[in-house]
Amino acid sequence: MSELRLMKGNEVIAEAAIRCGCDAYFGYPITPQSEVMETLMELRPWETTGMVALQAESEVASINMVYGAASTGKRAMTSSSSPGISLMAEGLSYLAGAELPCLVVNVSRGGPGLGTIQPSQADYFMATKGGGHGDFHLIVLAPSSVQEMHDFVFLAFDLAFKYRNPAMILADGVIGQMMEKVKLLDPRPRRTREEVLRDTGSWAATGKSNRPRNIITSVELDPAKHEKFNQKLQVKYAEMREKEVRYEELLCDDAEYLIAAYGISARIGQKAVELLRAEGVKVGLFRPITLYPFPTVQVAARAKQLKGILCVELSAGQMIEDVRLSVGSSLPVAHFGRNGGVIHSPNEVVEAMRQVFEF
């Protein structure tokens, strides 16, 4: 029996972590996501499922604790907001380099620097183009509702383990702070020692017993070997691009124009679509759900029928680069977005559509 509740996005991350059989959470408080750890401390999962929930001394410590726990084949996670994720950049690169699965949640806020605590989507580049040194990618999921905050915790862990790669949920202050109706999935138990050995015994540091040593490291000083390793990573990313793209289209069948947006901007964009449709403008919404891998083929296919695309983001324009790479110069692709913690209104998006496409 699934359970209906009214919850904040941040609270549901904690609830879903416990329910999906997460083994360990390490974090450090920062607005607007502190409720993740607060909720875990209230729920005391160490008394029920045995999940560890620990406040580390910093974000750097948190991500390295995740590295340690993930090395043993456990389901480990952390959460933070933009400046905290910057501090984790090295750890993320090491996790990707050691091919360790984990979940990192970024409930982003306005930057650069310490910035503001209000919502922002200016961490798109950091999330999708690396967020650390070296040729690597995170799997990046962008929820646009509290329900998806719940669902994507399960999905992120599944994908992370399938590809032995860190996964990120890239949310924003609105999705973290708002409450919506959410259907909670039935708890699934944490994996037993036998299950951990079965699923991760080929690579994880589970305690050596009659098998070759498993070594968790991201160092390889022989360039030839390291090139091979890098090529292996690229094969993995190509497979993700082929198999794991997720997106949503609304009212696109007869669309002449498209609003492309993810996360909270997709919700605002959807309202703008409703307002414009009421005026008779044929506009649809394209919402990437996986930001990496980006739905390149899908947006390009849709673009064939369009007169133009407006990318709506709470940033100066970041996802727009992936949209432009997807559709080329075949049609106008414009940006609209407030930033620094200011949230655009549906009416502002409607007005931007009118100005850019002159209807």
Partner: protein
């Protein structure tokens, strides 16, 4: 049915919890709901507000800048949100501390002396439920029985003994809502 509501006042007046109870009541009658608070520095000692949307269909934006209803509990919020009520919409306010009452004539304005009423009832804490009652009298977007169920879901078990007092406050609020503008 779709109702976009802003509830605004001072921190500590129960603005956020009123919104939460309203949202839970919506869930109890199978509506889609969103509850989006202001958060951050303005919450700490200043004004607090929350946008609640109740709808029969999937809700697009939880952020709106025009409201069907504004429930206003202090002067700063009245100044800020009176212009953001949709034409033909509702503005409900508590006159306590209001020095410059609303002036728009293209909306419906109701007054509820909830602060005074809660004091009369000897329980200042139920103030927000008096306000909620007044709102539900004017716009019965959720049924009283579902509000009671919403209270049961949103209050911790130990506070369930307070539900009858809250229900009484809602009923009292329904009685004291006072219309100030002719219908438009």
């Amino acid at each position: 049915m779709k109702e976009e509501i802003i509830i605004a006042g001072f921190g500590g007046q129960g603005v956020l919890s009123m919104g939460k109870i309203l949202a839970y009541s919506g869930i109890m009658q199978n509506q889609e709901v969103t509850w989006m608070p202001s958060y951050g520095p303005e919450m700490r000692g200043g004004t607090a507000n929350v946008t609640v949307i109740l709808s029969d269909d999937r809700i697009s934006s939880p952020i709106v800048h025009e409201f069907d209803t504004a429930i206003i509990l202090n002067q700063q919020s009245l100044d800020k949100f009176e212009p953001m009520v949709k034409r033909g919409g509702l503005l409900l306010y508590d006159p306590n501390g209001i020095t410059a009452p609303p002036t728009r004539t293209d909306i419906t304005v109701y007054r509820t002396a909830a602060t005074a009423e809660a004091a009369k009832m000897g329980n200042a804490k139920v103030f927000n439920m008096v306000v909620l009652g007044s709102f539900l009298k004017v716009k019965p977007v959720v049924k009283l029985e579902n509000v009671v169920k919403g209270l049961q879901k949103s209050l911790p078990e130990r506070a369930h003994k307070l539900i009858p007092a809250n229900e009484q406050a809602i009923l009292r609020g329904m009685e004291i809502a006072e219309r100030l503008t002719p219908s438009c």
